[in-house]
């Protein structure tokens, strides 16, 4: 059976006109013939930028002239070197984006380079069009590697369009809903009573209204009593020590099965948590529904989901209360905005994930500011600034991703709102790709981290 008839496709004919002199043969419907040593006789891969000829009359005049990909490692063993993309244009406007993917830095960097042909010479203002081409013309759609590569490029394209239009991105998106900024939360790094008391005091000082912690340990799909008891006690202590006026979220990090999560989640209902996150792994929506239907605690998930296509089923089934897609994986600003728009129709809220570098962090604030259904923004920082916060401040000249009165302030400059020099990144050369933590159970079997 023929899946496509290229002779009949007018628009495809135009798209391919630059590359092929004669019409494609019907027999070459899957592109397999490109594999032959002779290079095939039918359909050819399009080379060059996206849709240049068709848009010649409506071009903005801006052209992408260069692309650079940076791997940035704070230490040579880092499992998540930042993957940054820099796009250059014929008018000197520069765009930055981030596609950091934990444990797979090399793959994302290579994938961004694979998209170079889509970009050089293209009009950067056509972000939606370029996004579509990168996603659709990747054929297999996007998993985390392609998703992160598209995310980095998309952010850089938005940075350029903001600068070209002389507006911060959140204004281009129609925001802000709240000029004071977007509410955020830090992670809790303490487990003892004394540490938590200290965190509480610092949080009150800084006006921080929300924090997140994780459940301790690793879990098999059925779990032993001592581990379940310990997890519940840890959460109870958080609430008792942090008090009633700080919102608490608990990250299950997909370490638990629906069976184990159901037991724990039901028992912590009296703690009035803001949400519990990833109570089970992401592949099976029905499995997560099993947890949701037996608990009143709001459930959040989504950091591993790509594009609005990736969240459709979970939205339709009404399984979660909050989506957490990540601007560095979901498809950048375009991807995150579409997920939020789709979720809003189902009255589902947004609390985007961010546990990578500062470009994605700064970019996500723009989208948050323009979401009607925004709840809270993550950053993988701590209530007390760390060495990472210091480097970020050196890079950008302002304390990137630090909250003021519990909110991330909005940018005033156009685009994503920052300047970044290649020289400042050079201090932290790429240390190579390193896997994320690999953990195992007592019997040596593979555990979720």
């Amino acid at each position: 059976m023929r899946r496509r008839n290229f002779l009949a496709l007018g628009s495809a004919g135009i798209a391919m006109a630059g590359a092929t002199k004669r019409p494609a043969l019907e027999t070459d419907w899957c592109g397999c013939e490109l594999q032959t040593p002779a290079g095939g006789r039918g359909m050819r891969a399009q080379t060059g930028p996206v849709g240049l000829e068709a848009f010649a009359d409506v071009s903005s005049g801006l052209k992408i002239t260069g692309m650079k990909v940076f791997g940035v490692s704070f230490n040579p063993n880092s499992d998540r070197p930042y993957v940054f993309v820099k796009l250059e244009t014929n008018r000197g406007i520069i765009g930055w984006g981030e596609g950091t993917l934990e444990g797979k830095a090399g793959a994302v960097m290579a994938c961004i380079n694979d998209f170079k042909d889509f970009l050089i010479g293209a009009d950067p203002m056509q972000v939606e069009h370029i996004w579509q081409s990168m996603y659709i013309h990747s054929f297999y759609r996007a998993g985390p590697v392609i998703g992160s590569a598209i995310s980095g490029i998309d952010q850089a394209l938005w940075d350029i369009r903001g600068k070209a239009l002389n507006m911060p991105v959140y204004k281009l998106l129609g925001g802000p809903f709240d000029p004071r900024g977007v509410r955020g939360y830090y992670h809790v790094d303490g487990a003892t009573h004394d540490q938590l008391v200290q965190i509480r005091a610092t949080a009150h000082e800084q006006g921080i209204t929300c924090v997140k912690s994780g459940i301790p340990g690793y879990y098999e799909w059925i779990e032993r009593r001592p581990k379940i008891d310990r997890a519940i006690k840890a959460m109870q202590m958080l609430r008792e020590t942090l008090g009633p006026d700080i919102d608490i979220a608990i990250d299950f990090h997909a370490k638990t099965s629906p069976s184990v999560a159901s037991v724990i989640v039901k028992e912590v209902e009296p703690l009035n948590l803001l949400f519990i996150e990833e109570p089970c792994p992401p592949e099976n929506v029905q499995a997560m529904a099993k947890i949701a239907r037996r608990s009143t605690t709001p459930i959040a998930t989504g950091e591993r989901l790509i594009a609005s296509y990736g969240v459709r089923e979970i939205l339709e089934m009404g399984v979660v209360d909050i989506l957490q897609t990540d601007i560095n994986h979901v498809g950048g600003i375009s991807g995150l905005w579409k997920v939020a728009a789709t979720a809003n129709v189902s009255s589902i809220s947004m609390a985007p994930h961010a546990c990578e570098g500062p470009i994605g962090g700064l970019a996500t604030i723009h989208v948050d500011a323009a979401m009607p259904n925004f709840v809270v923004q993550e950053i993988c920082g701590l209530v007390k600034p760390t060495a990472t916060d210091k480097i970020w401040e050196e890079w950008f000249g302002f304390p990137a991703m630090r909250m003021v009165d519990g909110r991330f302030p909005l940018a005033e400059k156009p685009g994503l709102g920052f300047e970044l020099s290649e020289a400042s990144l050079a201090k932290y050369p790429f240390g190579g790709t390193h896997p994320m933590a690999r953990v195992f159970h007592e019997d040596g079997s593979v555990a979720e981290w």
Partner: protein
């Protein structure tokens, strides 16, 4: 068909002809020459199970075990399998008599032919030791099994729930337990018992009601979060699928004496995308336990293995006698992985005669 395709096909057939001819006439070294059935009985408990010995032409011997079934047609097994290759365990039809024992025996042979334990043949080991429990619990197997008291009437209410709670409270807080309903309870009783013990964190509630009453299972699963385990008597993987699909089961418990090693592995694979653990059942002898250990080290989602250690010392002695190694000896709640090829055990045929279930 056009001329080009015809010519091409003819050329291919000619090219492969020598190989095909050789394969058709050459008897494989792993072809099955003989199958023997040894039904045995534990002297005190009276528990019976069937052992199969399968020999290949080249003299490799494999052992398997399944549930004892007096109606199983041994002749039909011989007709179907004598002369067939012993490596083809995946081709055993579900309707084959003694199918679990045959599956285990063929994997034993395959392991011996490959000079590797079965778990290595199947892509393991996925773990270095195998969590296990027995009833009653012992020092070697500390997990407790609490059988619900036999109900004196239907829909018994609070007094009965308290009776169960008392039994649960008698187990020290640091000791894990399985609550075994043994399919005895009505849906209402099962749901209220589950709700009563919910915060005591049982590993799971085993057979809270009959799995065939799926509405009852829905009710229990909807009203409580106690993990539910099913598997008793299930001989069709589709039953597990029906329960998994609706999220009604938390522990799949296929019986190794029904599914064999590879059939249980398939059920474990079925449960995997639902994030559901497998805790296989075996109600037979030490060979069943040996097979269970190999299975546990071959799948990712194994949680725990029940070892049906009998109460009477005489029966326990019999289990040690028919299989050479201390395969069922536990340590700190775990069984050890054997390192020898196949199942990693040798069977004492004289002892099988001694305990023959005539």
């Amino acid at each position: 068909m056009n001329a080009f395709v015809t010519r091409r096909r003819a050329r291919l057939v000619a090219g492969f002809a020598p190989q095909a001819a050789a394969a058709a006439t050459r008897p494989g070294g792993l072809d099955i020459a003989e199958i023997r059935h040894f039904p045995v009985r534990e002297p005190v408990s009276g528990n019976r199970y069937s052992l199969l010995r399968v020999k290949t032409r080249t003299g490799l011997t494999g052992w398997g075990e399944c549930r004892f079934d007096p109606t199983a047609d041994f002749k039909a097994l011989e007709t179907a399998w004598i002369g067939r290759p012993a490596n083809a365990y995946a081709t055993i039809a579900p309707s084959t008599p003694f199918r679990a024992a045959l599956d285990i025996a063929l994997l034993d042979i395959l392991g011996k032919a490959a000079n590797a334990p079965v778990y290595r043949v199947l892509g393991g080991p996925t773990r270095s030791k195998v969590r296990a429990y027995s009833s009653p619990h012992t020092e070697a197997f500390p997990v407790a099994v609490i059988d619900v008291p036999a109900p004196v009437s239907r829909n018994q209410g609070k007094a009965y729930q308290n009776k169960v709670l008392e039994l649960v409270n008698a187990v020290p807080a640091e000791r894990d337990f399985v609550l075994a309903g043994n399919g005895l309870l009505t849906p209402g009783d099962a749901a209220s018992v589950a709700a009563t013990v919910e915060t005591k964190h049982p590993l799971w509630f085993d057979e809270p009601c009959s799995h065939s009453n799926i509405d009852a299972v829905r009710k229990i699963s909807g009203e409580t979060v106690v993990p539910l385990g099913f598997g008793a008597g299930i001989d069709d993987p589709g039953v597990f699928q029906a329960l998994l699909r609706e999220g009604l089961i938390d522990v799949v418990r296929p019986d190794i004496g029904i599914f064999g090693i590879s059939g249980t592995k398939r059920v474990a694979a079925l449960a995997e995308p639902y994030y559901v653990a497998v805790a296989p059942r075996t109600s037979g002898g030490p060979l069943g336990t040996a097979a269970a250990i190999q299975l546990a080290a071959s799948v990712p989602n194994f949680f725990i293995q029940h070892v049906p250690i009998p109460a009477a010392e005489q029966d326990r002695a019999m289990r040690r006698e028919i299989v050479s190694s201390a395969i069922e000896a536990g340590n700190g709640g775990f069984l050890q992985l054997p390192k020898a090829p196949g199942l990693g055990i040798t069977v004492n045929e004289a002892a099988l005669e001694k305990y023959h279930a005539a």
